[in-house]
């Protein structure tokens, strides 16, 4: 029995240590290669190089979330409150599957949008900010629907019935009483969706991001984005300055996603505390 204990112990410590070493090594590597440029290159240089990508990312992320949120929330409310058991299960399944679709396939969906508009309506739509926003919205829609369904599902029958037992109409109950109750859970779900939209590369690669587009000037023009910048410059950089930019961009993206994840978790914890009350 002692052998088993040793083997098992050795195994789990080996795994834990390996991953720890990997993470530490990565962080060390990242910091080592970005501290020097961060301290020595003037901020204005960094910004002028990365700014278009940062603004482009913000623009496309915000627009996709602006499209997907109301649509997703309404759909989630529809699924949870206005459908019966069997239909509801099927719809939840459909959106679960949509949520698992590889992002490159969603990029193809965006491409299909371009094709359909070109062939059916005749308008010569090209890959641009607008198409990317729509495609990213498609990407994150299932997550928002899922968050909404869960948020509403977690409202107990007793709470649902307070308004109804006083003669409040169904939609009034949903929008004036249940919706405010669901907001924290919804919000944390939306933040996760924001994080997802901000860092996805495959979708924007097929629908409108470009290498050198400058600041996003119009919805119907290509734009730059941070994840694509990292992808492109990782394989094509000409000198150490450009390389430093990639490291800094990577640091920025990591801070953004981990930050968003942290905020989402924080809101989640606050909800759990509230429920215990």
């Amino acid at each position: 029995m002692k052998v088993i204990k040793l083997l098992l112990g050795g195994y789990i410590w080996f795994c834990a240590l390996s991953i720890t070493v990997m993470i530490v090594a990565f962080l060390f590597f990242l910091i080592k290669n970005s501290i020097y440029p961060l301290l020595n290159i003037p901020i204005s240089n960094i910004l002028s190089e990365l700014f278009p990508a940062i603004i482009g990312s913000i623009a496309v992320t915000l627009s996709s979330v602006a499209i997907a949120s109301p649509v997703g929330i309404m759909t989630g409310i529809f699924i949870n409150e206005y459908t019966n058991g069997r239909t509801r299960n099927r719809l939840v399944f459909i959106f679960k599957v949509m949520g698992g679709i590889p992002s490159i396939v969603i990029g193809i969906f965006g491409f299909i949008i371009i094709l359909v508009v070109n062939r059916a309506i005749g308008y010569n739509l090209r890959p641009c900010l607008f198409v990317s926003s729509l495609s990213l919205a498609l990407l994150i829609l299932p997550y928002i629907v899922h968050s909404t369904v869960i948020a509403f599902r977690s409202i107990s029958l007793k709470e649902k019935v307070i308004g109804l037992s006083l003669g409040v109409k169904k939609h009034q109950n949903i929008f004036y009483i249940l919706f405010p109750k669901s907001l924290p859970a919804l919000f944390s779900g939306i933040i996760l969706a924001v994080g997802r939209a901000a860092v996805d590369t495959a979708v924007i690669m097929l629908t409108g991001v470009a290498a050198m587009a400058g600041m996003p000037s119009s919805l119907l023009k290509p734009y730059e984005a941070l994840p694509f910048y990292i992808y492109l410059r990782s394989s094509e950089y000409r000198n150490i300055n450009e390389l430093s930019m990639v490291y800094i961009a990577a640091v920025i993206i990591i801070i953004i996603c981990i930050g968003l994840l942290y905020v989402s978790n924080y809101i989640h914890k606050r909800i759990l505390i509230r429920i215990k009350r």
Binding site: M1, I4, K5, L8, Y11, I12, W13, C15, A16, I19, M22, F26, F29, N33, M74, T75, F78, Y82, L91, F93, I94, F95, K96, V97, M98, G100, I101, P102, S103, I104, V105, G107, I108, F109, F111, I112, V116, L138, K169, K170, H171, G195, V199, T201, A202, M205, L206, I230, Y231, S234, S235, V246, A250, I253, I254, C257, I258, L261, Y262, N265
Partner: protein, 284 residues
């Protein structure tokens, strides 16, 4: 404001169904756009041939093989380490380092694949170039390793959840009968979580096969059959990313839609399997 409940209800239902229909329109379009392929080249040819645009060969077998190859090997590697980490977190869940490890793994889920690709290029590729037979460092081995790290948090978090769902009464009962920790894990915890472990594997595999950036950035994307760890090869997802931005028409193009359809069907399949497995465990 006497808005009838029925009217609002019908408006919401109509809106809801419109959205669902619009969402389903896209997979439908994929099928529609892939249909011409059935006429010109038989599906069998596409699925089994090699890709060689000059010789009019549009087989995607190399890509399929590459995708499955890298997904399987990464999932395996990831599982070996992930399972150990889950056990570690479970065993040490009261100690501070156990908690920290769990937290760190949880936050790893936030890191996007581009960053993993980036880490791969700048850390791993030079190492692989130096210590193995690969001449450039951009080969399948690199992909296995980085992809394994990418899907690790997915696997760990799911197995953790399965562990936590194991009936604690059973565990305390066994403990009070004098079982050691190892016996607890080997004879109760793990057997009772088998379903969750299988689901974790499937989730990891599907995540690995769906990823685009890591195969794209780290493999060299050569048009050849993946025969060894040190070769360069192209996955289904990387192929889409490379062909699509150029705007052509014709068979080359339509094959892309077919590949997308294939990937979607794989996702559908694994969702059905996971749904089935999770339903079984709920009935427990």
């Amino acid at each position: 404001m006497t808005v009838k409940e029925k009217t609002v209800g019908q408006a919401i239902k109509t809106g809801g169904w419109i959205i669902v229909a619009s969402t389903l329109m896209f997979p439908a379009m994929l099928i529609f756009l892939s249909l011409p392929l059935l006429n010109e080249n038989s599906i069998l040819q596409i699925l089994s041939g090699e890709w060689d645009t000059e010789n009019k060969l549009y087989g995607i077998l190399p890509f399929i093989a590459t995708s499955f190859f890298i997904a399987s090997v990464s999932t395996l590697i990831s599982f070996v380490f992930g399972f150990g980490i889950s056990l570690f977190s479970y065993h040490y869940k009261k100690k501070i380092f156990g908690k920290i490890l769990s937290k760190v793994i949880q936050y790893m889920t936030g890191v996007p694949t581009v960053v993993y690709g980036f880490a791969g290029i700048f850390i791993l590729v030079p190492l692989v170039r130096k210590y193995t037979e690969s001449s450039s460092g951009y080969c399948l081995l690199t992909i296995f390793l980085i992809l394994a790290v990418l899907i690790l948090p997915t696997i760990v978090l799911y197995i953790n959840e399965s562990f936590s769902l194991v009936n604690s009464k059973m565990l305390t009962a066994a403990q009070s009968l004098g079982a050691t920790k190892e016996q607890l894990y080997l004879y109760i915890l793990i057997p009772k979580s088998i379903r969750g472990i299988v689901v974790a594997l499937i989730l990891g595999f599907s995540r690995a096969i769906s990823d685009t950036m890591i195969p794209l950035m780290l493999s060299g994307n050569a048009l050849q059959f993946p025969e060894s760890f040190y070769m360069s090869a192209r996955s289904l997802t990387a192929h889409i990313a490379m062909v699509l931005p150029g705007e052509y028409d014709g068979i080359e193009f339509r094959v892309i839609f077919f590949i997308a359809l294939l990937l979607m069907l794989i996702v559908l399949l694994y969702n059905i399997i996971i749904n089935y497995l999770e339903k079984r465990s709920e009935g427990h």
